[in-house]
Homo-oligomer: 312 residues x 2
């Protein structure tokens, strides 16, 4: 037996090409308990780019007090040099101070992160939702003036661990307020992984009513309840063409007793390959990268594809 392959059969209603927005080095490693040396992170990013991932979010300029795992952001970008630059290598910035550090490091793209709920805005950003929009306004303006590409993440778009259900129109309003600052792309985040297929349709419709069309939307699903790929499929059928994923499924969920984090890039690529949707990614190179990273972290990848193809 050679290695298994999906049999290519085009699917109805899928776009011909999907852009994978790889979040493993940032969202993945930020939620891993192991400390990863900077040169390993740099090698990780280089391998991801070599495997065909065009867009790779490399790190975060959030205060090291909050995210010690990514305290080496400046060192990492210095190590990566040209590989870490340009509009396809965004970094996370929480505020103007983070933007300053990112600009100093010579990045070409940044991502801000807001909340769909008041409770999470208070817990994650230490201020109300309205105040957080005010905080982000000068970040987006200055980033644009510097010629950077800007993405807006919004968390808790499909439910909040403290507030419970979140009405889709409230989520759409919160997203639109950030997009109205002039961001280039929105990433709607199912931070706790509770979202399901109809919920995805409802939120995309609500966003469209608020003037944020699928051409500016990326989807960011966590696999906490096993829904990430089915939700992604629903989003693609609705016209979304940007999907966030983390190689090897790196990154746990801080809000559930689960080791399962982001949608695994490999499981997504398997589906896209099978459906004949172009992503530019070499699945074998990606699985090899995940197996290598799993060794570095000392824990098995939760990706089904990685498990099946590499035994871990």
């Amino acid at each position: 037996m050679s290695r298994a392959l999906p049999q290519t059969e085009p699917a109805s209603d899928l776009p011909p090409r999907v852009t994978i927005y790889e979040v493993g080095p940032r969202d993945g490693l930020q939620n891993e308990s192991s400390s990863v040396p900077t040169p390993v992170k740099a090698e990780f990013v280089r391998r991801l780019v070599a495997a065909g991932l065009e867009t790779v979010e490399t790190t975060s300029f959030v205060s090291p007090r909050w995210v010690p795992q990514l305290a080496d952001a400046a060192e990492l970008l210095a190590d990566l040099d040209e590989v870490g630059r340009g509009p396809l290598r965004p970094v996370l910035v929480p505020n103007e101070r983070g933007l300053d550090r990112a600009l100093e490091a010579g990045v070409g793209a940044v991502a801000i992160f807001g909340s769909a709920t008041e409770t999470f805005a208070q817990k994650n950003l230490g201020r109300s939702r309205a105040e957080s929009v005010q905080m982000f306004a000068p970040v987006v303006r200055r980033a644009q003036e510097a010629g950077l590409w800007v993405r807006a993440y919004v968390s808790m778009c499909f439910g909040d661990p403290w507030e419970g259900p979140v009405p889709v129109d409230q989520v759409a309003d919160a997203c639109a307020e950030l997009m109205d600052l002039g961001c280039d792309q929105l990433s709607v985040g199912d931070t706790i992984g509770t979202g399901t297929t109809g919920h995805v349709e409802a939120l995309l419709a609500a966003l469209d009513r608020r003037g944020v069309g699928v051409d500016r939307i990326g989807v960011h699903f966590h696999d906490t309840y096993g829904q990430a790929l089915a939700n992604t499929l629903t989003a693609l059928r609705a016209g979304v063409t940007v999907v966030d994923a983390s190689t090897g499924g790196l990154g746990g969920c801080p809000y559930a007793k689960s080791a399962t984090g982001n949608l695994a890039t490999e499981d997504l690529v398997w589906m896209l390959d099978g459906a004949g949707v172009e992503s530019g990614v070499d699945l074998d190179a990606l699985v090899e990268t995940s197996a290598w990273m799993a060794q570095q972290l000392g824990k098995a990848s939760p990706s089904r594809v990685v498990k099946a193809l590499s035994g871990g």
Copy 2:
């Protein structure tokens, strides 16, 4: 924080009600290496029925030489008594001898199992595909004469580990030959888990061309490559209303280095609950059952929902 719930948002193109065909006690336990005592199996079936699963495949009358895990089929059915009888408690039968034993045990439904490929027919049934249809003909006839409900499983419908890709028209022919014997329901099996969304659409269309409509089809996906729930969603959108699943995701894949087996019933119920699709299943009771069974087996459930809600 109380336990997370999916937020109910109806999905387009989904049926109002889905029948879950629970295969945990048979397909799940048959592929587990641990030996499970008969009273534990009986308790497992009782708990599943109590959790709202109407259809539960209880065991198999395949020769104990081939499936020693289920050698206690007659004892289990004696223990289950009325709970194990009727058209909603099928058992697997490989041939007339198996049917004899099943009839003796007083079952009300049986399932035969064929192959979409020559190689797997030889390996699993010890004869050609055509010969296997001849073998099953008297089994189906006699089962019908005895008033039993009859299901036909077909394996390797989305790829074969020895032959590789399998054309959908070949699969449809193999399925139709068994259905033409007079079976009530077909279960199309992605035995190695390689299938993807477009492939599901293509096979359902091929089956329709061969006269096997979605009203007689159940889908049976393995999560080896993480595709099971996305494929199920595609099948439901195409009009299928019967989905095979295994509580806790019990059962490995014998054809890949992966511990991941059948679609986990919990992950399916989460999606259906979220989309407002009725299944009759109480998710909390199911998760509790999986956590209990995981203890019996001494290994964690691969179900995402079980992991998130029970920490194992």
